[in-house]
């Protein structure tokens, strides 16, 4: 159980940094069920599963800073795009509307005088 707890603490730490740990949590949850089962077979399976998780945790730790930068970049890029929508609408909507307006009426013929 202490091995499990060490990995759990690492995963929570990575989660607090903003890394995506959903797959790790799912696998740790499976390992916990095997540990709860308590049979030698289940404990052996849990041990091998935890070893795999440990490798992935170490790998994620080494690139956690890049992961955090990437997550923040996506977040603030989304904010920038959302913030630019009203400005883009202000400048583009009249042009687009006029373009459509003229396109619809391009076959119109303007005649002077009484019909």
């Amino acid at each position: 159980m202490s091995y499990f707890l060490t990995l759990y603490e690492d995963v929570v730490g990575l989660s607090k940094l903003g890394a995506d740990v959903s797959d790790l949590v799912n696998d740790l949850s499976v390992a916990l069920e095997l540990i709860n089962d308590g049979s030698p077979e289940s404990l052996s399976r849990a041990q091998s599963l935890l070893k795999g998780i440990e490798l992935r945790v170490e790998s994620l730790k080494s690139r956690a800073s890049y992961e955090v930068i990437y997550v923040n970049l996506i977040k603030y890029l989304t904010v920038a795009i959302l913030a630019s929508i009203p400005i883009a609408t202000y400048y583009l909507l009249p042009r687009v509307y006029l373009g459509i307006w003229f396109r619809i009426r391009r076959r119109w013929v303007v005649r002077y005088g009484r019909t």
């Binding site: 707890l5 759990y8 740790l28 949850s29 977040k75 904010v79």
Partner: protein, 168 residues
């Protein structure tokens, strides 16, 4: 000629500003604005309804436990099963003083929930026959800073009457 009416244009711009602000707040808001956990007790079919009223000494009572994590991070949880009375129920700040009969551990990611069938033993030889007892399920959370379990203040209980085990 005014192709795009000024008032219509102003309304459209106002709508895009509102949509943009709502979108930005959704992106920037924290994952868990109000952190909480929840525990629920369900019947043997994992539904709200047919809870047992009478149980036998030595019987494994089949119930379901529901847990939900809204703490904004993965959380290791433990449900402690105890048998108590009206005087030994847990409170919001402390668990029941009764001894733990069984513990069930779960790991949930943020926003995750689990509904798990469990078997809770009614122990023999504790003078419970003929009495009304409370099956208590307390929710404990693992605190990695303290390296230990902390009572969450959440629990559920079910009153049952204990009867003598039928002769096989």
């Amino acid at each position: 000629m005014d192709v795009l009416d000024d008032e219509v244009f102003a309304v459209l711009i106002a709508l895009t500003i509102i949509a943009s602000v709502v979108g930005i707040t959704q992106v920037l808001r924290p994952e868990a604005t109000e952190a909480f956990v929840a525990i629920g007790l369900l019947d043997s079919e994992c539904r709200v309804g047919e809870y047992p009223k009478e149980v036998f000494e030595g019987e494994y009572v089949k119930l379901c436990i529901f847990l939900y994590n809204h703490l904004g991070r993965p959380q290791l949880m433990r449900v402690d099963y105890k048998l108590g009375s009206r005087d030994t129920l847990p409170t919001n700040t402390s668990g029941s003083p009764e001894e733990v009969i069984t513990s069930f551990k779960f790991l949930l990611s943020h926003g995750g929930n689990v509904t798990k069938p469990i078997s809770a033993l009614i122990p023999t030889g504790r003078g419970l026959v003929g009495k009304e007892v409370a099956m208590i399920f307390e929710l404990w959370l693992y605190d990695e800073d303290l390296d230990g379990w902390v009572y969450s203040g959440r629990w559920v209980h079910l009153y049952v009457n204990v009867r003598e085990a039928p002769i096989p």
